[in-house]
Amino acid sequence: MSVYESPLREALILGDDKNYSKITDDIVRNTEGRPPLRWWIAFVISAATALFGVFCLAWTVWFGIGVWGLNKTVDWAWDITNFVWWIGIGHAGTLISAVLLLFRQKWRTGINRAAEAMTIFAVVCAGLFPIFHMGRVWMAFFIFPYPNTRGPLWVNFTSPLLWDVFAISTYFTVSLLFWYSGLMPDFATIRDRAKTARRKMIYNVLSFGWMGTAKQWQRFESLSLVLAGLSTPLVLSVHTIVSFDFATSVIPGWHTTIFPPYFVAGAIFSGFAMVQTLMLITRKLFSLEDYITPAHLESMNKVIVLTGSIVGVAYITELVIAWYSGYLYEQYAFYNRALGPYKWAYISMMTCNVLSPQVFWFKKIRTSVFWSFVLSIFVNVGMWFERFVIIVTSLHRDFLPSSWNYFTPTWVDMGIYVGTIGIFFTLFLLFARTFPVIAIAEVKAIFRSSSEVSRAQMSAPLDFSDVHHAEEHGHSGGGAHATVQHNKNFNEQ
């Protein structure tokens, strides 16, 4: 097959012993046999945390949301911060799968499966917050428009909160379909090497009876491409709509037109950071260093520094526009944000989001596993603070100074947040043990062009020895002649 890859590109599948069956072995191995002890340790910790989160949710339902730290002035705080944080994290999966597929980025294949799984788990965690904030969770289905016995009573289609309902439920559904349609062929791979009848049966059910015929693959590719094309505007629309929750209000500090692009950039930023965190753990825990290579980490760090800088520009633009607007309340909102009682949060946000990723301009740092991990945590923390800063600082200084207030979370608030992290990691660990964490078929598809083995087999890159000879000749003979000679030799290659 005529595959040409520039020799300048780094190989994406390392190891000189790789071939198709080795790829299958390396990836499927993690789903076979007994889980290692470190997996059990991680799982027990995550599951215990998740259970504590469930307990705090039950506490909330039993006693009402009065157990949260919200007050009359700050009526959105911890819950909505966590909601936006999780939704933002959930953006990287689809972005990696969809946008990078459309841009034909081959490094996507090593990380897309886990990133998509992460998306789904993050959206699950995100969804819990608005649902439990409703108070009477058992009536959560009221948010959907359906004919009912309460008279002709419908949801309000002009409200951004309702747009959110549609955006997030669509996003969850489409991400799930995208993820699962890619999983079917890989489940078939696991099925065909299963040793026991039970395992064979389970993985056959999961694979939907995949065979891998030419026509199935043709439809598979068409489906992936169109779903990627649909997901790209979808992923942008979801965070745009999340930002509308704030931007369409009349709260100074919220009603700015920069919100949609700024939220989308922030979502990509935090999502990539979370993918980075998870990938660094996964590659170590499951020995997948050959598939999630330094080249992958570097590419992700490049996206992080780009989106981090966009976010930084957005922060500064907000300040400049507040000053330029001449609008006293807007100016106060931003003055108070940076220098008011919540300045500790503002400083944390600025340090983690704007300053810390700038060190990725140095190649040494952006290719270092240790620093990638440390900085990915910084970004995760910083992006949490960004949402907290936007939401709480804009609310706590009400229009009436007599209503001014300070928000402090209660143990229930914190318990639910920590609990969602537990739920997220529990789901991810279960996924990593039972599902192929790397898209086997997709990695095989780039094997001929991007593996270390094929690179070595490919014919040597253009031989420039003649050209150099011509240049040397040219130096002695005169500039113009040398150029002609150079081109001539080059064309003959």
Binding site: P145, D192, R193, G209, Q218, S237, K444
Partner: protein, 187 residues
Amino acid sequence: MSASSLDYNKFVVGLYDHEATLLKAIKKIRSNGVEIHDALSPFPVHGIDPLLGLKDTRIHTAGFFFGMTGTTVGLSLITFIAKFNYPMIVGGKPHWAIPSYIPVIFEMTVLYAAVGMVLTYLIRNKLWPGRVPRIFDKRTTDHLFALTFAIDEKSEADITKIKSLLTETGAIEVNTKEFHDTDEPLS
């Protein structure tokens, strides 16, 4: 050519270990007038469709129509609710405020297109939970590529010809596979 035709029960299966050999083999075999039943591979092999004479899939066209259905459903639903069934006055604004309906209509378009396309994909590819496929060779989901030939109605001479063509074109293994039931249990 059909993905899982159950009209035949006896097959010759040729196995290849490199996609480039497979593509050359398909060309050679078809130019010899031998009909290939199907090709199986562990990942999508680019350039295989025209060689096998497969027509382009129309699943993306279906996706477009599903999407349009979503747009229409979204717009008509909101119009019915907001203009006729429950016209609510909010700050003297028009009942039928199209710009603020765009987000929901867009999400409906994407939702319908995605769900519709995936369902079409599953139905056309005959995929459902619990479906038991015919497995010609277990290694085709791992590292080998297979070409299958239906030989129920073929003479001995034809079969010999197929087998020799397979060996000639670099098949690493040539087997015959017979299915006894229409649905073969996983083995």
